[in-house]
Amino acid sequence: MSEITLSVNGETHKLDVDPSTPLLHVLRNDLGLRGPRFGCGLGQCGTCTVLMNGTAIRSCNRPVSRATGEITTLEGLSADGELHPVQRAWIDEQVPQCGYCQNGQMLTAKALLDDNPSPSDDEIREGMNRVLCRCMTYYRIQAAVKRAAITMAGGEGDR
């Protein structure tokens, strides 16, 4: 055990944990966050995705000692009770089925759109490709990413 300093959703936390502990378990079990979830522990599925300094990373195989930037989880995506345009698009398109993977889908979409505000269909497919969904909501996810892109560009999302 050793003291780790972690910055999550704008708050700084000092924690006494083994520095090799995957970030995911610290976020869930020490900070009580529910957005990132365990899916594979191998970095393959994306269910545990968080943003670190705006980049989508896998928290299941990232030692907490290497979580050195500002971490944003799904809970931190909305500001002052206002949903992020990505989250609004997810509701408008009625994307989730079971919803277990959608944390990773939304955060990956957020990072994608920050990097490329008007992605083509192929860029959306490629950019989202490493986040798996076993309810197979991909079709609606891609529609929601497009809708969010339009909203973030100041336009009206249309169905």
Binding site: N29, R37, G41, E75, Q94, Q97, Y100, R130, M136, Y139
Partner: protein, 831 residues
């Protein structure tokens, strides 16, 4: 948003001690536990209403209850009293009584309502749809109701989920109860106003006699209906009220947004994986490294120095390690040294030898006539052998479908809390009621000391019809005397979850000189011995590893493909095959979405296309001709509705008639189209796909899908469309990628690389779901809804295989179609 009435209601009498932190629950659960009349909790409410019906002095209610008659509980009616649980009494969890209206529906003082149904929603929107139809019958606004699902202590036992019958069967019982509640409320208002009930109007929970109004909340808010319902079983539950005619339903048919989505999007929903209990510890498992291995010893010193280590729990071949923290348990499971002895006999063949093994093995039930075994099936129409002997053309084909995994996106998990001599299990088991009875039996506890609380989790699809982790958590919680959280690792989930069974199917068909199908001979072998079932205490993995065995295995047989084709001579015979290792095997089978449907339909509908090609006929016209071969009506008008979905899909697609395959193109990308049709239960489906086949890489892309779908009355069109989209894409995944592989000692599919799944780049460019109401009596008031959670899934593999044949002229008869398999097939055919 939190329900205000939930705060501060827990007085000393409330028997909610095991869940002191109930505020952790979602709003609808909090509301469910809110006081009814300022002093009793939902459990007290159910206890009083369910176990001994209390008289209620509210206007009109006693008379109304009398109208319904004295049900089974009627003679037990006693004067009203508020029960005061003994403070030292351990909590008991009696079953809510489905014959009490109060078990299903509560109207609060503010006029809002809470509904209670014994179902679970895997994300297909059955909760939203049930709430819609109950609101419609009760006549309150959709946003004035909440729905609680799947708590054994709070919701009547409707069995949880399975079989896509949530709307077809269970929501109809709930609908009738809501209609009865409306009737009783109108009776109360009639007495209040002194006018006949049939002169009253009701809208959004407000009853009017033309000049005066009174709300549902004013009439009964927070009080019990005390109305006894009728019905031989929960599915038949009804009052005396009639349900509304379909044309009078206002919310049914609207694409109302799913109530569960906002909390899934903003991160606020508490899932079963999120449950934390005071003093909770974490467990992980060590599974046998070889199927059928026997545990010979454990060296606990290999993990004793891990910080937070608590205990190794072992019995038979079951091993769990328990630690204070999750990552500690993961490390301990990784490091624990255990000695295993391999079995003397190979547990199963390798996946490469599987289909040869299945075809050459003696069926599990030997020479017993198939019809006598119950689960096997044989069907003979006409004289297939004579027809095969006289047919102008006979073709044969063999189809192979491997084991496929559920591979849930989140591995199995559960939390069990043994506080106060009871056991509470927090789980995403889709059948919480059998989970509860199974766990009670497994632990040797009275069922009324066990309760199971269903919470959202990763998919259902049959995997959680017998959720192993809940049993494991409960066992460990009992052993340690403190709350335990269990979660499987990815390699466990992929290797040891329940599998959809492999099939080896041989088909022969005969056509006459005019190209008409006169005979079809279907012989299936199914690797489905010792099917897992539903939460039986003798079949879940922990029980099997401990050496517990069911009295007799449950060999899951299967029918041939479900179609309404008129073929005068027909034989279907399906026989299960067993491997040397029948129990504690990672190849244990369980229900996987539309059990057997994708496999049998892949063979059946591929072979129909093979016969169409033999007859040089267009695949759509060929199918329509077979469907029109008979003219008689049938249950649920399946024949007419089959024709309707084939025609609707073809029209929406823009199908032009021609035989398949077309002339093979010369470029790198070959394109083709294919159709498959099927029914499941009373729902009919036809799916048409466009594929692109890359002859250089072997990649198949399903570019477009059109699905003609008839499931009768549609409650929520957008929810239905989402469900069908999921079915179709899941079908692509099973067609192109999914296969469980094993080497004769163990399963070697252990993660997303070795059991791949569909990804974003595989997603079709366009999916059209064409909702058909092919009922020959359109608009009739009793048009019922049928299931939609599975039927369209089964059409996908054959539609894709038929489209690949159309594009390339190559018939693929083994799933999945990973690029290397496609390349090999193209090379073999010199395409």
């Amino acid at each position: 948003m939190r329900d205000e009435r939930a705060s501060g209601h827990r007085d000393a009498r409330a028997a909610w001690r095991p869940t002191e932190d109930d505020h952790e629950f979602p709003t609808e659960i909090v509301r469910a536990m809110a006081p009814w009349d300022g002093s009793t909790s939902r459990r007290d409410f159910l206890r009083t209403s369910g176990l001994f019906v209390l008289g209620f002095s509210g206007a009109g209610v006693a008379g109304s209850a009398g109208l319904v008659g004295m049900g089974p509980r009627g003679s037990e009616q006693q004067p009203a009293s508020t029960p005061t649980p003994d403070p030292g009494e351990a909590p008991l969890y009696p079953d809510p009584d489905f014959l009490q209206l109060d078990s299903w529906l509560v109207v609060h003082e503010d006029g809002t309502a809470t509904f209670y149904v014994g179902k679970t929603d895997g994300g297909q929107g059955t909760g939203t749809a049930t709430r819609q139809i109950m609101c419609d019958e009760l006549d309150i606004a959709y946003d004035q109701a909440t729905l609680v699902m799947g708590r054994t202590d709070m919701t009547v036992d409707q069995g949880g989920s399975g079989g896509s019958d949530a709307i077809e069967r269970d929501a109809m019982a709930a609908r009738r109860v809501a209609a009865e509640a409306r009737r009783v409320l109108l009776e109360m208002a009639a007495e209040h106003f002194g006018v006949p009930a049939n002169e009253l109007a009701v809208s959004d929970g407000v009853i009017s006699d033309g000049s005066r109004t009174i709300t549902y909340g004013e009439l009964i808010g927070g009080k019990r209906f005390d109305v006894v319902l009728m019905g031989a079983n929960v599915n038949a539950t009804t009052g005396v009220a009639s349900v509304k005619a379909v044309q009078d339903l206002k919310l049914v048919g609207q694409s109302l947004p799913r109530y569960d989505i906002p909390a899934k999007v903003d991160g606020s929903l508490e899932w079963a994986v999120d449950v934390k209990r005071p003093g909770m510890v974490h467990a992980r498992h060590v599974r046998p490294p070889f199927a059928g291995a026997t545990l010979a010893g454990i060296d606990e010193s290999s993990v004793r120095d891990i910080p937070g280590f608590i205990r190794v729990v072992s019995k038979g071949n079951y091993i769990a390690v328990v630690c204070e923290r999750e990552e500690q348990a993961i490390e301990a499971a990784d490091r624990l040294q255990a000695q295993w002895e391999k079995p003397g006999t190979a547990p199963f063949p390798s996946s490469e030898d599987l289909f040869d093994y299945m075809r050459s093995a003696t069926p599990a039930n030997g020479g017993i006539p198939a019809s006598a075994s119950g689960r096997q099936s044989a069907r003979v129409d006409g004289d297939p052998d004579a027809a095969l002997a006289t047919a102008a053309t006979v073709i044969e084909a063999a189809y192979d479908i491997p084991f496929q995994g559920h591979t849930a996106i989140g591995p199995a998990h559960g939390v069990a809390d043994p506080s106060d001599g009871q056991m509470t299990v927090y789980t995403n088991d889709m059948k919480p009621y059998s989970h509860r009875t199974g766990i009670a039996e497994f632990l040797g506890m009275p069922p009324d000391r066990v309760r199971v609380i269903w919470m959202d989790g990763p998919q259902l699809y049959g995997r959680t019809a017998a959720d192993d982790a809940g049993f494991e958590a409960a066992y460990l919680a009992k052993e340690l005397g403190r709350p335990v959280r269990v979660q499987w690792m990815r390699h466990e989930e992929t290797a040891w979850d329940t599998k959809g069974p492999a099939f080896a199917i041989d088909l022969r068909g005969g056509l006459d000189a005019d190209g008409n199908v006169i005979v079809l001979d279907y012989r299936g072998r199914i690797a489905n011995y010792a099917h897992l079932g539903y939460n039986q205490a003798s079949t879940v993995l922990i029980a099997q590893l401990m050496g517990i065995r069911p009295e007799r295995p449950s060999p899951g047989g299967g029918r041939g493909p479900d179609d309404m084709y008129h073929i005068p001579n027909r034989r279907e015979d399906t026989r299960p095959v067993r491997f040397p290792l029948a129990f504690e095997t990672p190849l244990r089978t369980g229900n996987l979405r539309d059990p057997n449907g994708p496999q049998t339909t892949f063979a059946g509908e591929s072979f129909i296309d093979e016969m169409a090609a033999t007859a040089n006929a267009d695949p759509v016209e060929f199918r329509l001709r077979l469907l029109r071969g008979a003219t008689g009506d049938d249950e649920a008008h399946r024949r007419a509705r089959s024709i309707a979905v084939v025609e609707a899909a073809a029209e929406a697609y823009g199908w032009d008639a021609r035989p398949s395959p077309k002339t093979v193109g010369s470029g790198q990308i070959l394109t083709g189209r294919g159709i498959a049709y099927a029914y499941r239960a009373r729902t009919t489906v036809a799916t048409i796909v466009d594929v692109e086949v890359d002859r250089e890489t072997g990649r198949v892309w399903v570019k477009r899908m059109v699905c003609g779908h008839d499931c009768g009355l549609v409650i929520n069109p957008d929810g239905l469309e989402s469900t069908v989209q999921g079915n179709l894409l899941h079908g692509i995944s099973r067609t192109l990628y999914e296969e469980v592989r094993f080497d004769g000692e163990k399963v070697t599919s252990v993660d997303w690389r070795t059991h791949p799944t569909l990804t974003h780049t595989d997603t079709p460019e366009r999916i059209d779901v064409v909702i058909v109401n092919g009922d020959p009596n359109p608009g009739r008031p009793d048009l019922p809804p049928y299931g939609a959670g599975e039927p369209s899934h089964r059409t996908v593999p054959a539609a894709i295989a038929n489209a690949i044949h159309d594009a390339t002229g190559v018939r693929i008869r083994r799933l999945p179609l990973r690029p290397q398999q496609v390349l090999a097939a193209l090379a073999a055919a010199e395409v």
